[in-house]
Amino acid sequence: MANLKEIKRKIGSVKNTQKTTNAMKLVSSAKLKRTEELAKRSRVYAAKLTELIEEIAQKMQQSNAEGIDNIYFKDIPNPKKVDIVFITADKGLCGGFNSQTIKRVRQHITDYKAQDVKVRLRAVGRKGIDFFKFNNLELTDEIIGLSAAPDFKQAAEFISEVAASYVNGETDKIILIHNGYVNMITQEIKEDHVLPVDTSKLELSSVSTSELEVEPDDDDTLLDALVKRYIEYTMYYSLIDSLAAEHSARMQAMDAATTNAKEMVKELNVKYNKARQEAITTELIEIISGMESMK
């Protein structure tokens, strides 16, 4: 019975796949836990740093009627050149995680092209790089391995280069796009305007009224150091956030795959039993009719 054998083989292979997906799910959930912990701890730091920088920006705005003239804060109304930094995973098998990010990036490219803005792409993560390479779109910068294992030093080096091109006027705006972690079952695309520092959404409840003293007292030393730190940390935090989202997305995808495999095994089993019964019935009929003819 070739058919029976085939079904049996198929059942075995689906069961194997199920084992693999289940194992991947477990690995992802363990990794997610670790990454989540890391994200939780660094979130406080990121929040404090942002708070500090916003407060300084606000004070500067108050003291200077024409707005802020520091290069990092200067808002360029019609940017001519935009750098998009985007983070994808190095690995696949995580549902729509990577394609969502890529979709958003492409949408930005189309939007900016319509406004006649030059866009440069800087990719972090193999999946994004592969996609744009395959579609013959130029990448200014690419880095593999950083999104799978965020390292502060490496992240800082990478983003500093980007920031340097902003300072020397090569680009007017830097956007960071990544797929962020919301909870175990939800991911959300997040966009950060890295530079210029976004001062439009400043809202501070308790601002002390006394004048702000700054040490060292030429404004720029402190602000430059702070902004540099802020950018580096934004990048690092986005990487962690993206990694957590990647793991949660993979967990979900693998969970769905395991369920589907289970379903498939069930269906195949029914099919197998039917085929077996059919074979037995045919055999019986053959025997009986053989006996009948011998009478």
């Binding site: 701890r41 730091y45 404090k48 740093l49 500090l52 002390s208 004048e211 700054v214 040490e215 060292p216």
Partner: protein
């Protein structure tokens, strides 16, 4: 004596969050002390040691490599890159001292600044 809130945040989380009497910080323009009702100030922090005087009068030292501090009337927030608290039992302390020294030496600050901070750490180690 009036108290103020002190918070020390590192990339690995909040390591100190409590009411204190006084705190001495290694500012980039020189060491300075902060009491309650200090006027608003933002400063760079250099490699060095933060000395905290707690409500019960005891002192805690925290070695840091670099960071920022934001002071206002009610609250002092230190945002530092790396920190090691120098406290605990003898065995813990010895370990913490070693860690603190490695941390201090790993920074890009000038040699004199590191040497000063290390000697301070050693001094604290002896006095505890």
């Amino acid at each position: 004596m009036e108290l103020m809130k002190l918070e020390i945040v590192t990339p690995n989380g909040v390591i100190f969050d409590a009411e204190v009497k006084q705190v001495t910080l290694p500012g980039s323009e020189g060491e300075f002390g902060v009491l309650a009702n200090h006027s608003t100030l933002v400063s760079l922090l250099d490699t060095g040691v933060i000395v905290i005087e707690k409500t019960d009068g005891s002192e805690v030292a925290v070695a840091i490599n670099s960071g920022y501090v934001k002071v206002d009337e009610e609250k002092t927030t230190c945002i530092v890159d790396g920190a090691v608290a120098l406290s605990g039992d003898d065995s813990d302390l010895a370990k913490a001292l070693e860690e603190a020294k490695t941390l201090l030496k790993s920074t890009e600050a000038s040699n004199t600044a590191i040497a000063a901070a290390v000697s301070k750490v050693e001094h604290i180690g002896k006095s505890l």
